[in-house]
């Protein structure tokens, strides 16, 4: 696609502390991470290791207590809520463990949701067309008019993936994308993500399952708020 050496994400000393009454919980203690375009990074770690906190920071859903975060060379750690929302809507695609589709809203409208919040850029027809294109890409064009209730778990996650893809984001952040699926369906979803990776998408995935993590091109492990880059699991995609 483009220059493979381009750095999409760069964090320097990323720190996140929570004040819990009189105690201070250090969820992240200075994470330095660089993710290049086209990488498929798996973040592993036990629960409470800080991997979800890191993903939230990378997804601009939260701001670091300390440290810097460059997303496509822009320092984003000090932007306002609405500025972060704008970047989220344009440059980041989310895939959640529990799909997080809007109920009573058709698949294609769920997919088009990020476009709907980009004021004046996409009319209703353009939204629908783009959404249908992406649904076709994940093999669900025939289910475009169905509501989440009428879809299977795997189909729901495909719709969610389509929603993450529809804006052509700089990075797709997946939080335990197979956590709510049986292993066969989980494998299908992983092969879809692997395909997307092959097409050049940048993906960061949080998982605690080594079987899932092995699909990634690079695996990092979090422990006690610190990022450990293991030398063993480094398999370039």
């Amino acid at each position: 696609m483009s220059d493979p050496s381009r750095v999409v994400i760069q964090t320097v000393g990323l720190t996140r502390e929570y004040v819990m009454g009189s105690a201070i919980l250090r969820a992240l203690r200075g994470v330095d991470l660089a993710v290049q375009e086209g990488e498929f990074l798996a973040l592993m770690g036990a629960s409470g290791s800080g991997k979800s906190t890191l993903l939230s920071l990378l997804g601009l859903l939260d701001r670091p207590t300390k440290g810097q975060y460059f997303l496509e060379d822009v320092e984003v750690s000090s932007l306002s809520r609405d500025e972060l929302a704008t970047i989220r809507g344009r440059r980041i695609g989310f895939i959640f463990q529990s799909f997080n589709l809007l109920p009573r809203v058709s698949a294609w409208e769920n997919v088009a949701l990020p476009l709907a919040y980009r004021k004046g850029e996409f009319g209703g027809d353009a939204q629908r067309k783009k959404a249908l294109d992406v649904l076709a890409r994940v093999g669900l064009k025939h289910r475009a008019g169905h509501q989440p209730m009428e879809l299977s778990g795997g189909e729901r996650q495909r719709v969610a993936i389509a929603r993450a893809l529809v804006t052509h984001p700089a990075v797709i952040l997946a939080d335990e994308p197979t956590g709510n699926l049986d292993s066969a369906t989980g494998e299908e979803i992983m092969s879809l993500l692997t395909e997307l990776h092959r097409e050049g998408r940048t993906i960061i995935m949080v998982t605690h399952d080594m079987n899932i993590a092995r699909h990634a091109s690079r695996i990092c492990t979090m422990r006690d708020g610190i990022l450990i880059e293991p030398e063993s699991a480094h398999v370039p995609g």
Partner: protein
């Protein structure tokens, strides 16, 4: 999000739980219906006053006997208000120009072989002036723009005089139709007709008259009429002295209060009413001016309107709190949805608008139903307020505006709360 998309989203949000939305609307429905009914009452009272005004001009004072109920019957509370009280008033009271009064009796009129069953109108010498003043009938041969004169109402002879009225003169003036019916083609002037068992001399015949209001023309014939002095009618056809309702016309309407005082003084003297130990008078008559009607009417309407206004305010506040409550529940229930929307790029403003619009949809839905209920309840309000309630068209947009206002006022807090949710917390919410 475009407004259309926002509205679609909000409609979807509300319709996801229609029963809840409908129940929430109740307060607004009652509140808005009260507003509609309240304004209809005010409007009805105003219309009723205006209708009365047509019969009671600004220079008129209506005088009637004070009535009391005695053994189930309405009787005069003191002395009867007699025609003489009225007849002498213009002479005795400075500011009174003339007094209109009349009394009816059903009689049989006969001349030779011809008989007519009809009403006789006991009138004052000023009856023709009153006729001109009321402006309801005019001579058929009147030219456009021609001034109405007393003469133009008389075809033949003359009208009766004050002296004739005071001495119960057996004289009469008849309408043109009456003259034709009784006398064929003969000249009625100076003839004597029988009215029941009394002789009565014809001293005048009215010109042919027609109703000014064309819709009234076929209803009653102004030419089939027999006028006699009010005193004569009472003497001939009434056993007791009847109480007469009269209208005094004031020379200067700016001095109507003064005129009222003068009339009061005059009637107290005639009825021998003296101040009691407290210096108060127990009057046996009522004086009513346009201002009095306005006051009384408005007072009645105001009392009722106040009640409705209180009801409207209370129900709108209760309705608003209901909306706030439901919206807070909705926001909590849909925390994850809010998180998702934030994750995919919704700004705080988008979230605020979405939930504010839902609140407004509920309140406007309630507002529309309230307008319907309000309009349907107008007959009920009218029956509780002496038939005076009339839909005020401007109350509909006003009521809807109030509904929107309630939606905004009580929807803004839940909406702001939704927009301030932490996206991470919201996404994790179970």
């Amino acid at each position: 999000m475009s407004l259309a998309e926002l509205i679609r989203t909000s409609v979807r949000g509300v319709s996801a739980n229609t029963l809840r939305a409908a129940l929430t609307m109740l307060g607004i429905i009652i509140g808005v219906a009260s507003v509609i009914a309240m304004l209809a009452l005010g409007n009805g009272a105003r219309a009723a006053v205006e209708a009365r005004f047509r019969f009671l001009g600004a220079n008129q004072i209506q005088i009637s006997s004070m009535m009391a109920i005695d053994d189930g019957e309405m009787v005069s509370a003191g002395k009867t208000l007699t025609y003489e009280d009225g007849l002498l008033m213009p002479e005795q009271v400075d500011l009174v120009d003339r007094v209109d009064m009349s009394i009816n009796a059903s009689i049989k009129a006969r001349f030779q072989r011809a008989t007519l069953e009809m009403n006789v109108l006991g009138a004052t010498p000023a009856a023709l002036e009153s006729m001109i003043g009321a402006g309801e009938v005019q001579p058929v041969d009147r030219q456009d723009g021609e001034a109405l004169t007393l003469e133009s109402y008389l075809a033949q002879g003359r009208f009766f005089t004050l002296a004739e009225v005071l001495e119960h003169g057996p004289v009469c003036v008849m309408g043109s139709q009456t003259a034709t019916d009784l006398f064929g083609g003969d000249d009625p002037l100076g003839q004597t007709i029988w009215v029941n068992r009394n002789r009565c001399e014809v001293i005048g015949v009215l010109a042919e008259l027609e109703n000014v209001d064309e819709s009234q023309r076929y209803r009653n014939n102004p030419n089939l009429i027999l006028l006699m002095p009010i005193s004569t009618v009472i003497q001939m056809f009434y056993e007791d002295e009847p109480s007469v309702q009269m209208t005094a016309f004031i020379t200067d309407e700016s001095r109507i209060d003064e005129a009222k005082a003068q009339i009061k003084q005059y009637l107290r003297t005639r009825h021998e009413i003296e101040a009691d130990v407290n210096g108060e008078y127990q009057d046996d008559f009522n004086l009513t001016t346009r201002k009095d009607i306005l006051g009384a009417q408005q007072e009645a309407a105001n009392t009722f309107s106040l009640l409705l206004a209180a009801m409207a305010v209370v129900s709108l506040i209760v309705g608003g709190i209901g909306i706030m409550n439901v919206m807070l529940v909705t926001v909590t229930e849909r925390t994850r949805e809010i998180g998702v929307r934030m994750a995919v790029g919704a700004h705080a403003k988008d979230i605020v608008f979405q939930f504010l619009l839902e609140a407004i949809l509920i309140s406007v839905g309630g507002g529309i139903l309230g307008v319907v209920v309000g309009i349907l309840s107008i007959p009920l309000a009218a029956s509780l307020n002496q038939g005076m309630a009339l839909l005020q068209p401007s109350s509909i947009p006003l009521a809807l505006f109030v509904a929107i206002l309630v939606g905004v006022l009580f929807g803004i807090y839940p909406a702001l709360r939704a927009s301030r949710l932490d996206p991470i917390e919201a996404l994790r919410y179970e």
